[in-house]
Symmetry: C2
């Protein structure tokens, strides 16, 4: 029983938020609305291979050596410039490269959260962020979402009662898991709340550039007046997740500590990954590539919206995202989507989605589910939604509850 | 003052163990005995480029997609087989791929250490390990080193007095920073102590294969009877650090939790890195490559041993490593090697080494220094040791103290 030696943070009684999230399902007609996977056919594989070649040719054997934790200057210059185009003042020294967005979340959690420290999260929240936060044993305050983002009246009441809240985590653009986008006025008011109640905002933006309808809104960070907002992004959704390359923009005081934490976590990002992405960006127009993604994903989003409306019961509450990777479905309170996944969806319909419980700090909402559409073909989207409709049909539910 | 929001683990009054460890020094005749860098000319660059090409060709666009946290099965098969050749029973499921050895240390620390939890470390210890441990706020017990490894009589007395010690960290082969190797009998006795006093051993082996004189000893893990030893290694020193690819072998109970922690830290290792290394290993003989490294490094080790003996004062205590990357030098108690580095070595002699303080939990030993020899040419080794000799000469020291 070595588990008795584990640190208090390890809650062996809780299920893992990320391990086993997607049950094994190897049926030949399997359809997965599970992970937030990009459409593989859209990876610029040729250009990325050329970029790898160029990166190695430029530095020769030195490519394979240790480098500085800061990562390639030309990549950080590019990212600072890109931040500037989005109204965020930053130079290369304000950028920290991370092992995907996930590591950015983990490092920020490590910087701010110790056992009993208070933080606020949207409810529901990105499952991977909760998995990272859990390890630092915070006290969670859950702030409900409205159609235009987090409920700030509610949040302010919570802040009045719990002034020790030090961190708020949000995915303001095409939220994971709900697809909801935070309104402009809420972004501004959120910064105002942070200034008045003295907390830090982690603005996680993996889907920010993937806007298929309407206009993008300014980032929360662009309204930051006191260096309280940490802007986090990643190449995972807009280029490729296989480089595990994300970045964050933070004020000096925060960034210096995050650099220390990055060093002690894994020393540096893989130079071959950073160099390859830098070479790709030097020779290709990322925004042009993103436009191609948006064209394809827009059609898939519309198809999924239509299919869910067609096949799901009329009382299912379906979110209406204008970008990103996900739809969120809420069902009658008595429905347990985890049980339905394991007993019906996977074995009988060969369909995978993500049940809602793991998106809540206390695993206590079982009647929702997340559907990802970007990695599926149009026919899989239609067929998968039809299967989901069968699983959720009143007659079927009566049998399975 | 956002620093007031930082978690208690962040000790802003302490210097960073890893940031700024190597002061800027861009003189054209600069010689660095600082970082543990491999000799760049020995990277199998051509073969690694071919391996990348093969990895991408095999899986095409899927190479650029998300994969499973476990990483490529053929790579884990290879590593399990390699462990078996070293007397460690393991199959692919016992292997966890990590972002270099550094992440392995961080994940193990996260699994076992919370604020106030007790651990033991060799004194001195690898600076990066201490940087990782520091973040989990353990109570350190320092166990001194002897010429044949950690002083186990001393350790047992400490264990009797502090039975709550739950983790011991060691680099048994060509220790970082001292170059010392733990004897066979001590390896066996250490496992016995772990069983009797109920603690876990993290056996960190980045230099294990790099034995230039004498014979390799069995790993501590090979004597493990209760699943208490976590064996950690990395491709950084024997292939290339730029992939950031390490691995650990642990019993199921421990490995399952480490998988969760890996997921919440960064989801998975970069697939392109893991796939490239797997393809390299399929088409090349790693041991043959390591033999080439050993031939070159053996000559450098001998050159450094000779140069240090020639140029350093007679009363300097110089370690006698038979492998690895490092020599350790201990000087008179009143000498502060950090001050000498900043005031003499870098500005006047254009020489970098690592001062001893950061290798101790409490930064309280200032009279030692670490010298790395693998990344320098033979002429740099001779010239750098001569410069070090000048800095440490009694006449010079009298002026600089």
């Amino acid at each position: 029983m070595l588990s008795k030696l584990f640190a208090k943070r390890i809650k062996t009684q809780n299920p893992s938020r990320l391990q086993g999230l997607f049950p094994e399902s190897n049926f030949s007609d399997n359809i997965s609305f599970g992970g937030g996977c990009p459409d593989e056919s859209l990876f610029p594989s040729q250009a990325l291979q050329a970029a790898y070649q160029k990166a190695v040719d430029q530095e020769q054997a030195h490519s394979f050596q240790y480098h500085d934790v800061k990562g390639p200057g030309n990549l950080r210059d590019y990212l600072a410039n890109r931040a500037g185009q989005q109204g965020i003042k930053a130079n290369a020294d304000d950028i920290l490269l991370t092992a995907g967005g996930q590591q950015g979340i983990d490092l920020v959690a490590k910087l701010f959260l110790g056992a009993g420290d208070e933080m606020a999260v949207e409810a529901p929240s990105y499952v991977g962020a909760l998995a990272a936060f859990d390890n630092y044993e915070p006290v969670y305050h859950e702030i409900p979402l409205e159609d235009d983002g987090v409920n700030l009246d509610y949040f302010e009441e919570v802040l009045k009662e719990h002034p020790a809240i030090k961190l708020f985590y949000t995915v303001p653009d095409f939220h994971n898991p709900t697809g909801i986008t935070m309104s402009l006025t809420k972004r501004q008011r959120l910064v105002d709340l942070a200034n008045r109640y003295n907390f830090v905002i982690l603005e996680d933006t993996p889907y920010r550039d993937l806007c298929y309808h309407g206009e993008s809104l300014p980032s929360i960070k662009s309204f930051d007046t006191e260096g309280r907002v940490i802007f986090l992004s990643t190449f995972s959704k807009i280029l490729s997740p296989a480089f595990r390359l994300g970045w964050l923009v933070a004020s000096l005081e925060i960034k210096e500590q995050l650099v220390n934490l990055k060093l002690s976590a894994d020393l540096e990002v893989p130079y071959l990954a950073a160099g390859t992405v830098a070479a790709y960006l030097a020779d290709n127009d990322l925004d042009q590539h993103i436009d191609q993604l948006k064209q394809v994903y827009r059609v898939k989003l519309d198809a999924m919206a239509k299919a869910l409306k067609t096949y799901l019961p009329a009382d299912a509450k379906i979110s209406q995202p204008e970008g990103g990777f996900f739809f969120w479905v809420e069902l009658d309170d008595e429905i347990d989507t985890r049980q339905l996944l394991l007993n019906e969806a996977v074995p009988k319909e060969h369909l995978i989605y993500v049940p809602s419980a793991s998106f809540y700090p206390n695993w206590d909402k079982n009647n929702g589910l997340r559907v990802s559409f970007t990695g599926s073909s149009l026919s899989q989207i239609d067929e998968g939604a039809e299967r989901l409709g069968r699983i959720l049909s009143p007659a079927q539910l009566k049998m399975s509850i």
